[in-house]
Every structure is written in C-alpha cells, then in structure tokens.
Amino acid sequence: MSADTPVARPTLAVWKFASCDGCQLSLLDLEPELLAITRAVQIAHFTEMTRAHVEGPYDVSLVEGSITTEADVARILEVREQSRYLITIGACAATGGVQALRNFVEPGTYPAMVYAHPEYLRALDTSTPVSAHVVVDYELRGCPIDRFQLLEVILALLSHRRPIVATHSVCQECKARGTVCLAVSGESACLGPVTRAGCNALCPSVGRGCFGCFGPSEGANVGSLMQWLRSHGHADVTLARLLQTFNAAAPAFREVATNLVATKVTLVAQPLMRKERS
C-alpha cells in the first residue's frame, strides 16, 4: 500500500459468476463519482477495472451472476467466507437470470440447441441465485442494476445507515415522474404493477411496457394482473413469455407463468430458437 493511501478505507471486491458483466460495469458507469468512490473505498478486486489484486478478507463484496457450475458452488462459499458484507448485484445473482430458463426443461435441452459439441460443457442442470448457496446481506435487483442504487448502497454502508432502496412497484416511479400509464392508456402489456422499482421507470418513460427486469415487487399479485391482461386480449403464450425473461425463476413470476402455459415443461422460447437456427 502506498504512503499516501488513507489507511481506514474499507475494501471492496467485485466477483463475477454466470453473468454478462453489465451490472459490475455499472460501477464504472458512475463516472462523475468514480474518483470520489475510490477515495472512500479501496477497490481490492475488480477485474473489469484493474488487474491489481489485494488479498482478502474484504469489507464488502459485490457479487454478480448466478451459480451454474460446480466451481461456482465452491467459489461462492469462498467469497462469503472472505466478505464482511456480501451484496449481490443484478437479476442473475438475485433470481438466477435468463439462464434459469434451463431449470424448467430436461437437462441438456438448451445446450443441444446452441452448441455444436455440448459434451464439452461442464455445467450444472440449474442456474440458481446466490442466496440459494450462501447468506446474502443485501440484494440489488435489475438487468442491469441501476447505478445510482449501487452508489446509494455504497454510501449507506459508508455512513452506517439503511440504504434508500424501494421495494414497491415501478408504478410509483411512473407517477412520480409524470409518465402516463401505458397499461391504462394504451394497449401495452406492462409488468410495472408487479415489478420492483429502482430503474426510475425507465422503459415506460420511453413508451415501452415494463418487462420486469427488477423482478417481483414486494407481495406482487402477478396472477391478478395476468388475469386482467388475458381478459383484454393478450395471449397466454405472450404473457408467459413476458414473465420468463430475466427473472424467469423468481417464484412469483414462475408460478403464474407455469399456470398460464398449463404444462410443467413450458419452454416457450424453444419454437422461436429452432426457427431462427433452421
């Protein structure tokens, strides 16, 4: 450690599991605040930013991605052991991500569609959230996370207070910014009423219905919303697809999607993928 480095800075490490890196890049997207953040915390491990590595233990670990391999299972235990606070970032880490679609089909179904030689893969049959393996201190939702929520959690940790992170619906953010409700004023199916806020209602603000990337809001009544959309002309398969994206395995979404397509092996993405590949 160099002489001019303040000694009391908490250490922060960023870990990647099965994910696209978009969430950890949100930390770099905090451009105006980034230098101040590095003065407040010591970035100990963050391979998207630096090859420098400081050995643990760490005050805070940000964990991105879901657990999809045997190696992941071992490594997440190690991360937990080395971390005072373990904070997951993003839909993959919180609910298993889009890759959790594999959980609902016969093992090997998707690899056979995608890879020429799926036999080289060494992966688990399921994609599971970090919380299924270790104790998680805090979860940030979203695909990707909202960078200001990430900053808020870092600030809260620094000042030993509770983060200001809402658990209510996206609707409350639409109303606060004056976005006219797409679901009521147009034909757009919108998951906003059952999706957790945090994105500042980004998609509805540009005329696109919420696709639920922050996962279910607290106590989400997904069945009632789907029933309403059904009675307003939306096809079951469309609605199931709406629920089976980045938080497909979130129980509140999964349960209703399963009921909508009425069969255990839903695989609504399958026909599309086959078509594209033929």
Partner: protein, 384 residues
Amino acid sequence: MSVGASVVLRVDDLATLITRLSELGYEVKGPVVRAGAIVSGALSGVGDLPKGVHDEQGPGEYRIAHGDDDHLFDWAVGPSGWKPEFFPPHDELWRARVGDGHVELVEIPDEPRPLAVVGARPCEAAALGVLDRVFIDGAHRDTRYVERRENAFVAVVECSSPAATCFCDSMSSGPNIEVGFDLALTELDDDDGHRFLARVGSVRALAALEGVAFVLASAVDFSARDAVLEGARRRMVRHLDVDGLAGVLARNLEHPRWAEVAERCLSCGNCTLVCPTCFCSDVRDATDLDGDVVRQRTWSSCFSVDHSYLHGGAVRPTTQSRYRQWMTHKLSSWWDQFDTTGCVGCGRCVAWCPVGIDLTEEAAAIVRFDGVTSVTRPSVRSHL
C-alpha cells in the same frame, strides 16, 4: 366590477387572459395533450388547450379521441390532476454539512414562480380544499404548501362531459363549483355562440381581467350554464351512496369483501398516487460522498409494505389490510381526522387501477352486505 360579478368571455378573451396572467408573473399551466392523455402542462395560449379532444374512461381504461368540434373542455379529468404542483413527488427540504464536531444546517429555498392554473375541474378545486385541511389547517402547517397555494391563481372550468368513472355529483364536488376559485368558467356553445361564463371569485381575478374585453353576463348565459350542468349530471353513470357510508365501513372491518378485493388488488399504489387528496410522504436523509446530508421528502403510498413499517415489522403486512386502510381512510376515518370526505369523486382511482378495481363498487358491496360475514364470489386465482 367586484368579486361575485359574472362576465362573458369569448375564446379570444380567454387567450388575452392567459397572456395577462403571464404578464402578471404567473407560470400559466393548464390541460394539454401528451402521450395519449390530457395532462397538465405549460400554456402559452388557447392553442395549447385540448381543442376537440374528448376522453373515454372506464375501470382500468382511458382513451382520448379527437373530434371536429372546437370545444376546449369537453372532457372529464386527466391522470395527474394538480396535486403535484402543490405537493411535489420529490422535495429536498434541507442540507446539512457534517464537520469536525459540528453540524451546519443549510436551508434549501423553495421559491417557485406563482402558478396560474387555467382549466382545473371542480373536483380538482375541491381536492385542493381537502389538501388545505391537511397541510394548512392542521396543527403543523406545511410552509412550502402554504406558500404555493397562497400564491396560486386557480381558474376552474365546470364540467360538461363527465367520464363513466366520474361520481362528483355523489360527493357534492361537481360538476358545478360555487366556492374555492379565483375564476369559475363554464364553456357554453349555443345560439349565442361559443363563449365562457366567468364568475369572479377573488380580487386577484379582478386584476387578471383588467384589459380583457368582456361583457357582463345575462340571464341567458346563466340558463345556458344550468343546461350544461344538468346535462353533465344526467350523463354521470357512476354513483356512491355516501349516506351513512362512513359508519358502515367503520363497523365492517372484518367484512369478507376485503379479502376478495385483495385477490384482485396489485398493491401497486396507483390509486393513491393519482388520488388528488392522498398526501402521504416519506422523509429520509440521504448522504453523499462528501459527507453532506440531504433531507428528502417523497410521495409514499399506504399500499407499500414499508409505509407501515415500525420496529419489528409492518403493521399492515397484507394487501387486504392495506386496501382496507386506504378505503376506510378515504371514505370513513377522514371525517374523524379532517371533518370532511377524503374522496371528491374524480374517479381516477377507478380509471387508473391497472386491474380496474372500482372504489364505488367495493363500497357498495360492503353496504349491501353490511354485517355479513360470508359472501361468495368467484376467485380470480381459480381461473388461472
């Protein structure tokens, strides 16, 4: 001319009035069309008003349609109303800088330009009256609200075309307005032409009308107004029987209907945020990287679990308890707290509920089965 006088304005005169309000220093806002709805926006002239635009509303549904008429106010209510102008969704109250052994407080000034609203509806003016009781008349005056309200000019336009969601007639808050305005307009269009009957409600309105060409109103104009209001009342299909309702709700807190509505309710909070009288907020302190603290006030909803969080957990953990809290407050305990109804019958909670839950229907169901402990109704979940 004095307060209480009535005059007739032509559309050109209304344009002059808007210009005049702007010259007097007001930020003039009114109904404008945006994103498929009639919302509040800046008015630079009558050209910004929703000419020939009409709205169709039902539970969970809202559409606008463009007609070939030149009426400016032939629609009911838009999604937002005027609450956000006086009680903003997000407000920063003060800042604190934490230094060595001391805390320095810095006030964040709130000096918006005085607002002139041209085209509030009677129910919206009534709603501001309800909010006044909360923010002005109580033991704790909200100084920011007080300042915004006292400086505001409110020109109300009476309703000719209620939507299917409107029930202001039941709540005595429309389609007419008799008090609580600077200027009350009624859009008239008959053999005497397209014009507005304007009733002067304040000294401020007298100042605003200086330089505006007008003629004094006659009995003909008043009977034209009566016809407009009579037509509006006749077209109002939704009703809420308020006679004894507060008591019925208060004694039916364990009614099975609460559980039934909770099966449909998304607990998303839309009803509370579109409601022109819901006033709940959350106050929190945010910190930044320099160690500064900002005290923020943001809208909150009783449909959020967090809203009733006390040490150890939420007081109202279920949707059933939260819906009941909202409706009984609005229609029953509001009377105990503020000596008025919390509902002005604008119908927004009906129209903007994403699954079309109808407050009037829910209240009527409880009245119908007053004291009953078991009512059967098909479950939503059983269909899925």
